[in-house]
Symmetry: C2
Subunit: 522 residues, 2 copies
C-alpha cells in the first residue's frame, strides 16, 4: 500500500465516494490507486471549473463533500472561480491538489507555483501533506474541516512522493463528526422579544434555514408576529413551490433593495448577514438597511439553523394549529407567442415535474422564474452564490449525480454558460438527467444595464465589442451536439413549451436554446 | 476626466493599445473610458483563460505588453493558468484587475476575495491602486514592470472608486524604458575559454537567443568549436526552418534527456537554466545533467541575450566567412494513407507558407512536427511554456492579432484544446487568420503513458474514465461551427493535405479535425 492507497481508503471510509477529477502526471499514483477501488465514482471534467462546480452541486444536494482531483497550481487555479462560489454557498468540498514530489520543488520545473497562495482565498483550510505516513490523518482532518458547519472548503496538497511512498501498518482513520452548534437561547429569546414588540420586522433566513421544515416553522412565526420572511438575493438552496412557505429575496438592484428595507425597523438574522449591495456605485450606500434599523444576529456561523428556528417558535409559544401559510398550487397557462423570459418562466411553472432541482445561472433573463413558480410543483432552487459566472452547467451536473432520481432543470444565461460549457460533455458521459435552457440573448445583458447606470449611455464600438455576443452568434445546438448532448432551438413560446415537455418526459441531458426576442434581450 | 480615463490615456501614451478583455460591473467605468478611446483595440474573450493566453501570444510576437481586463478575483483566477504560461514564457503582460470600491471591501460582498494572494504566484509585480490621482503613475510603473527584461507579468488592481473618481491637472506619465542589461564580459570570456578547451560541450539557448540572428551567430560558434546547440524542451518562440540554424531540444522523457546529456562535460547557459525533469519520478533524478558536468551561466536574467551571443563570437575571434550551417530547404513529399501525427507533420513541412507562426499545444501528437520541419519554410515556433494546458487556441489568437499579415498554424491536442475552446469564437469575431489542427486521439494520451510508467499497467475502469475522451466522442467540427469557425474533418492523409492546402490558401479561421488512426492515438 502506498500513500495514494491510504488516501483513497480514508476518503471511502469516511463516505467520500465521488471524485470529480481532472488529473495529470503528478497525480498518476493517485489515479492508479483510484483504479484499484471501483467503489469510488470518478467523474472526469474536461476543465477544472467543471470539476469544482460539480462538487458544489453535489454538496448542496447531499450535504456531503465530494473529493476533487486537481493538477498542481494551474489546475487548482482553473477551479478557483467555482470554489469561490462553493465557499459562498457553504458547500463542503475536499480538494486534492497534486504537486511535484517534495524534492522536485526546489528545481522550479515549469509547472511549479505557490499552491498555498492560490488556495487560501477560496479555502477555509489548506494543508500540505508532509509524508506518506501522514496521509490518513491529514485526509481525515481535511474531511473534518470540510464538514464543519455550515460546510467548508478544505484543500489538501498532495506531493507526488507522499502518494508513491509505501506505508505499512497505518490504520485508516475516521474523521470525527462535526455536528452543528446549539443556538444560544439568550439570542433566541432576544429575537423572540423583538418579534413580540411589533414594528416592521424582517426575518432574514439563509443556509439550511431555507429548507421546507424550517420554512414551515418560520411561516408560522411570521403569521403570528406579522414579520416578513426574506432570503438573501443569492442562496445555495431553497426548498420552494406548492406546499412550502415562500420567501421573498433581497432585490439585486440597490435602489430596489433600499426601498424594500426603508420601512423596516428591525432585522433578525438567521444564518444570514446584514444585506449589502452586490457592487458599489458612486453615491450609493453599500449596506441595504436604514441607519436606524436594529440588527439582531440570532445565530452564529456554525449554529444548527433548523433548531434555531424551532427554538424561536418555542420561545414565542405559537398556537399549535397555526397555519404556516404555504404556497398553494397555481394553475399556470402555457405561454403563447413571443419567446420571452416570462414565457419561459410560465412554461416551467406549468410543466416542471415534482421534486425537480432548478439550478439558476440565468442572470438577468431568469428573474421572472422566481415570482412565477411560487405555486409550481415543489422543487429545490440553487443559485449562483458567489457571483463568479460559470457555475450553472457544472452545478447541474453535480446535482444530477447527487440525485439520480430527480430531474434537474438548468436556467443558463448564454454569456455565463460559455465559461464552463465543457460540462455538457460530462453530462452526456454520465447520462446526467439535466434539461438545460439557454437564455440566448446574445449579450452580457446585465452589463449593458450597468453601462447605462454609470452614465455612459448606450454602448459605442469598444463597449459593444466587450458586451455583445452577436458577432458571430453562438449556436448552442451545435455546441451541445459537439459534446454529445441532444439539443434543439426554440424561437416561440409554443415551440419552447413543446420542447420542454418532450425534454422533461425523457431521461438524460437535453439542451434547449431559447432564442429570446428583441424586446427581451436586455 | 476620471481615473479610468487617466488609466486609458496612460496605456495608450505608452503604446499599450490592445486590450484583451472580459469585463464586469466593477469595471464599467473603465469600459466606458475605453469606449471613448477608439484607438484602443478591445478584444473580448468569452472566458478569461482566452484573455490571458491571447495576451501571451501577442507579447511573444510583438515583444510588447497588451493589457488584460479581468473582473475581480474570480476573473483573475480564470486567467491564472495562462498567466502561468506567460510568466514561464517571459511574456510582458499588464493585467488590469477590477475590484470593488475601497469602501465596499469591508462589507465582504459576494464577489470579494483576496486578489493579491491570487495574483502573486503568477505575477512578478502586484500593486493595488490607492486613489484616482495615483492611477497614471501606477499604470506607468506597471508598464515598466512588464517591460523589464526578458518580459514580466504586472498585475494592477483597480478599485472601482479609483476608476470613477475625478482627476484634474494630472499629467499622463511615460513609462521609463527598461533596456536589457549588458552581459558581463568576464562571464563571456569564461564561456569562450571553456569552448576553446574542447570536450563535449552544449550551448543551451533560451528566450531571445532563439531568434534567427543570434542563432546564426551561435551556429558559427558551434561550427568553430564543435559545441552542440540546444534549446529547452519548451520555448516561448524559436525562429526556425530553412535558412535558419537549427537547434535540438532537451527531450521531454527523463531517460532520453539523461542519455542526451550523459556524454556532456560542460553546459553553457545563455538565458537558460540547467535542465530539469518536467515531473519527478520515483528513483529518477530531477536534474538532467551528469553530476560531473560543469555549468557555466553566461548571462543573468535581464541580460541582452542577442548581444551576449555576439560578444561570445567576438571573444572567440571566429573567422568572418565561417558558415553558420543553416538548415537547407527540404523537399517533403505529401503523405498518403493513414492519418498519423507524422503524416500531419509531413503535410505541414510541404505546405506551410513562408513566415508562418506555428503554435504548438499538441502534447504527444505533435512531437513529429519539430523533426520534420527543420527544412520547411521559415517560421516561428511557439510552445506551451509552462505546462498549464489550455494555451493553444488563445495563443494562436493573440499571435494572429499581433501579426495580421502572417498565417498562424495551431497544432492542438484535443484534451488541452477543450480547456479554452471559447477562443474559437474570438477567432471568428476578429477574423483571426488561424488554421487550427486538432489532433483528435480522443484521450489524454500522455497520461496513459504516465500511468504505464508508474507501473499501474493498462487503465482499468476508473483510470479509463479519467484518461479517455471517447465516450462520447468530441465533434470538433460542430464545436467550431457553434462558435462561427468553419471546420472540416480529415480521416486520411490525403484528405488532410487537401484540407490543409485549402485552409492555408484562404484567410480567416479554419479548423481541421484530424482523426488519428488507432495505432497513432497513444
Amino acid at each position: 500500500m502506498n500513500g495514494a492507497d491510504l488516501l483513497c481508503e480514508t476518503l471511502l471510509a469516511n463516505d467520500v465516494d465521488v471524485c470529480f477529477a481532472n488529473p495529470g502526471t503528478s497525480e498518476m499514483h493517485f489515479v492508479a490507486a483510484l483504479d484499484r477501488r471501483p467503489r469510488m465514482r470518478c467523474v472526469l471534467g474536461l476543465f477544472e471549473g467543471v470539476v469544482t462546480g460539480a462538487a458544489d452541486g453535489y454538496a448542496r444536494m447531499t450535504g456531503r463533500p465530494a473529493a476533487t482531483l486537481l493538477h498542481l497550481g494551474p489546475g487548482l487555479a482553473n477551479g478557483l472561480a467555482n470554489l469561490h462560489n462553493a465557499r459562498r454557498a457553504a458547500s463542503p468540498v475536499v480538494n486534492i491538489v497534486g504537486d511535484h514530489a517534495s524534492h522536485h520543488l526546489a528545481l522550479d520545473a515549469p509547472l511549479t507555483s505557490d499552491i498555498e497562495s492560490l488556495a487560501r482565498p477560496m479555502s477555509h483550510w489548506v494543508h500540505r501533506i508532509g509524508s506518506a505516513g501522514a496521509i490518513g490523518e491529514d485526509t481525515a482532518r481535511a474531511i473534518e474541516a470540510a464538514r464543519a458547519e455550515p460546510g467548508r472548503i478544505a484543500t489538501l496538497i498532495l506531493p507526488a512522493d507522499a502518494a508513491w511512498n509505501a506505508v505499512a501498518g497505518v490504520a485508516v482513520p475516521k474523521a470525527r463528526p462535526r455536528p452543528p452548534a446549539s443556538p444560544d437561547p439568550a439570542r433566541v429569546a432576544r429575537a423572540a422579544q423583538a418579534l413580540r414588540s411589533g414594528g416592521e420586522t424582517v426575518i432574514l433566513l439563509s443556509g439550511k434555514a431555507l429548507r421546507a421544515g424550517p420554512l414551515a416553522t418560520a411561516g408560522r412565526i411570521a403569521r403570528a408576529t406579522g414579520a416578513r420572511l426574506m432570503a438573501q438575493q443569492s442562496n445555495a438552496r431553497i426548498e420552494r413551490g406548492a406546499g412550502r412557505v415562500a420567501v421573498e429575496r433581497v432585490p439585486y438592484r440597490v435602489d430596489q433593495a433600499l426601498a424594500a428595507f426603508a420601512p423596516v425597523g428591525r432585522v433578525i438574522l438567521v444564518g444570514a448577514r446584514a444585506p449589502v449591495a452586490f457592487f458599489a456605485y458612486p453615491g450609493k450606500p453599500g449596506g441595504m438597511l436604514p441607519p436606524a434599523c436594529e440588527v439582531i444576529a440570532m445565530t452564529t456561523e456554525d449554529d444548527d439553523l433548523a433548531l434555531a428556528v424551532e427554538m424561536l417558535a418555542g420561545a414565542l409559544d405559537l398556537p399549535r394549529d397555526l397555519d404556516a401559510g404555504a404556497a398553494r398550487r397555481g394553475e399556470a397557462a402555457l405561454p403563447r407567442g413571443a419567446l420571452t423570459p416570462e414565457a419561459i418562466a410560465r412554461a416551467l411553472a406549468r410543466l416542471m415535474p415534482e421534486n425537480a432541482i432548478v439550478c439558476d445561472e440565468s442572470v438577468t433573463s431568469g428573474r421572472d422564474f422566481f415570482r412565477h413558480t411560487e405555486g409550481a410543483a415543489p422543487h429545490d432552487f440553487l443559485q449562483l452564490s458567489g457571483g463568479a459566472i460559470g457555475v450553472g452547467l457544472p452545478l447541474a451536473l453535480g446535482a444530477a449525480i447527487a440525485c439520480p432520481d430527480r430531474k434537474v432543470v438548468l436556467l443558463q444565461a448564454d454569456g455565463s454558460g460559455m465559461y464552463t460549457l465543457q460540462a455538457l460533455w460530462t453530462q452526456a458521459r454520465e447520462a446526467a438527467d439535466v434539461v438545460t435552457i439557454v437564455f440566448a440573448n446574445r449579450r452580457y445583458a446585465i452589463l449593458h444595464a450597468e453601462l447605462r447606470a454609470v452614465g455612459a449611455g448606450a454602448a459605442g464600438r469598444n463597449a459593444g465589442r466587450m458586451l455583445d455576443l452577436d458577432d458571430p452568434e453562438l449556436d448552442w445546438v451545435r455546441l451541445a451536439g459537439g459534446m454529445g448532448v441532444e439539443a434543439a432551438r426554440a424561437e416561440t413560446a409554443e415551440a419552447f413549451a413543446d420542447l420542454l415537455a418532450a425534454a422533461l418526459a425523457r431521461r438524460g441531458p437535453f439542451l434547449i436554446e431559447a432564442v429570446l426576442q428583441g424586446g427581451d434581450r436586455g
